[in-house]
């Protein structure tokens, strides 16, 4: 094989310009897209007032706060803080439990192989998706107005926000279940109840439990801020201490939150691995 002459290369380049890299038009468009993107970012920075001076002042304020945070101290009301943290974990546990129970029948309703009507299936799934768009804190605030201040609003908010997402995940688990076990029960003359109990449940129950545990972990995180709107838990403590600028106590609460979340993650991770095997 001989090297192509420059004339041949030029001829090929004329015939197949795109094989030699992007054409001038593509490159121009790309440059234009980059310029537009950067211009938009610049506009956003201007719109949201990212002035260097303001950032600098803010950072120095933040530096003062950080200095005041050291050393973290539980303060005099440390028992309140511990109680708030325990309340947050309890709220997360109850909320997840309620959501996990209610999501089971909803999951069956949303599973394409149980409810075979396409329109019903599609609209149920869209409903689940729609609910997901509302943040837990919004639910918490509405429940505070509906049932009053306190952990009850928090539990309800956690449950409401999770039901839709858990139902969707459960529905997917049911759809992904192996059909052959259920057919086996059919073949030996089992009823629909027996088919669900022995053909489906052993497959989907560990998955459902594992998902519920995942949600419990994430809810411990979110339950620790629901108190900001008055829905119980440690959030109230942290919001109050930020208001009165007790930064050392704020730092202590943040560290306590991190430690609790890590402990819960560790425990729940071990249970999950025991349930569905190491992955």
């Amino acid at each position: 094989m001989t090297m192509p002459t420059p004339q041949q290369v030029a001829a090929l380049r004329r015939r197949m310009p795109r094989a030699f890299g992007p054409t001038a038009a593509t490159r121009g468009l790309r440059a234009l897209a980059w310029a537009a993107g950067l211009a938009w970012i610049g506009f956003l920075l201007w719109w949201f007032n990212f002035a260097p001076e303001r950032i600098w002042n803010g950072l120095s304020g933040l530096g003062t706060i950080l200095v005041l945070m050291v050393p973290p101290s539980p303060g005099e009301l440390w028992l309140e803080i511990l109680k708030g943290m325990a309340e947050s974990v309890a709220m997360a546990f109850l909320g997840t439990f309620i959501a996990a129970i209610i999501a089971v029948p909803l999951g069956f309703a949303g599973a394409g192989n149980v409810v075979t009507n396409t329109l019903a299936h599609f609209s149920i799934r869209r409903l689940f998706d729609g609910f997901r768009g509302v943040d837990q804190l919004i639910w918490a605030l509405t429940y505070v107005r509906a049932v009053g201040l306190g952990p009850l609003a928090g539990v309800l908010a956690i449950a409401t926000a999770d039901i839709a997402v858990l139902s969707k995940l459960y529905a997917e688990a049911i759809e992904n279940a192996e059909r052959r076990q259920a057919e086996g029960i059919d073949a030996v003359g089992g009823s629909a109840v027996l088919r669900t109990r022995f053909g489906l449940l052993p497959q989907v129950l560990p998955v459902m439990l594992a998902q519920a545990l995942y949600f419990f972990e994430s809810n411990v995180r979110s339950a620790s801020v629901l108190g900001v709107v008055g829905a119980g838990g440690i959030g109230l403590q942290i919001a109050e201490r930020i208001k009165v600028r007790h930064w050392d106590e704020v730092a202590f609460i943040i560290l306590l939150m991190i430690a609790t979340v890590m402990a819960i993650d560790f425990i729940s991770g071990r249970i999950r691995r025991a349930l569905i095997g190491a992955r």
Partner: protein, 303 residues
């Protein structure tokens, strides 16, 4: 086959049956044991949070009443009338121009926060990937730092930043940046850890240093995944940004807080519907973009 055909059971079958019964007994006992633990946990949790079945059931009618009142009261004969007519669709959405603008502002806060946060994740992820990190201590420091950013809730960052930077979107965006950096940093690092190492060895063989190896050996493999995680996080952050206004950190949250706190019932449902529609639209768009992205990588992998 009739009952007479059944032969007397052999000893082996008896042993098998006994073993099965024994296994089943142990299993049932274990199930019972875990159920008891679950019930104890539930009781303890109920006691700590003072939420009992009774309080839940007592609360139900009030919940239904509350959400019933937030429902818009349409009158069919004037459904398409203008916003000054009570009972029309336009009256329900009478402040839609202001609301849509606030929702747009919220989404742009999320966009900027996701962008800058992902940039921090990007800068840290190669150091936070176990097999790519230049030094073990750097890996540990990067991982712990990302873990810290991820574990502290956005709202807590926002509360502190409102003190430092003043009320407004800036504090909210900074909170989103920090939380996104932590959340995406972990995901990015995991993607980078799973990247094919042979391309890196090729760059090393050609005399590339650590930066060259990351840039030419790892980045081309992981970039589509990074973009995919970016889009996913953007959607999550739009949802999260909708409540940052609760603590004065900008966006639709302040209006939402106002409307809920003052019991402007019908406006609550109007705002929630708008937020749900926005998040659903972004969800659909980002899902489509992510699907295009993954089919693109599969094609690239087929070469």
């Amino acid at each position: 086959m009739s009952a007479t055909a059944i032969a007397p059971r052999s000893a082996a079958v008896e042993r098998g049956e006994a073993a099965f019964r024994e296994a089943r007994r142990i299993r049932r006992r274990a199930t019972l044991f875990y159920l008891v633990i679950l019930v104890i946990c539930l009781l303890v949790a109920a006691d700590i949070s003072e939420v009992y079945i009774g309080t839940l059931i007592d609360g139900l009618p009030r919940i239904f009443e509350y959400f019933w009142r937030t429902m818009p009261s349409f009158r069919l004969e004037v459904f398409f009338a203008d916003w000054e007519t009570e009972g029309s669709f336009a009256a329900w959405m009478y402040r839609i121009d202001k609301w849509l603008w606030l929702i747009f502002e919220t989404s742009q806060m999320a966009l900027l926060g996701t962008l800058f946060g992902s940039m921090i994740s990007f800068a840290l992820c190669f150091v936070a990937a176990k097999n790519l990190s230049p030094a073990p201590w750097a890996y540990l420091v990067a991982r712990r730092f990302l873990e810290f950013l991820r574990t502290v809730p956005e709202i807590v960052f926002a509360l502190i930043f409102v003190w430092a930077f003043g009320i407004g979107p800036l504090a909210g965006i900074l909170a989103i940046i920090l939380h996104t950096a932590g959340a995406n940093g972990k995901l990015f690092a995991e993607v980078a850890e799973n990247a094919e190492t042979r391309t890196m060895e090729g760059v090393r063989a050609a005399g590339g240093n650590w930066f060259h190896r990351m840039r030419f050996g790892v980045l081309p493999q992981v970039l589509p995944n990074f973009v995919s995680y970016f889009l996913l996080r953007f959607e999550i952050n739009v949802r999260g940004a909708s409540v940052l206004g609760f603590v004065g950190a900008g966006g639709i949250g302040e209006e939402l807080y106002h409307v809920i706190a003052f019991n402007y019932y019908e406006e609550i449902s109007a705002l929630l519907v708008l937020i749900i529609l926005t998040v659903a639209t972004i969800d659909l768009l980002s899902e489509r973009m992510r699907r295009n992205l993954s089919s693109g990588t599969q094609m690239a992998g087929a070469h």
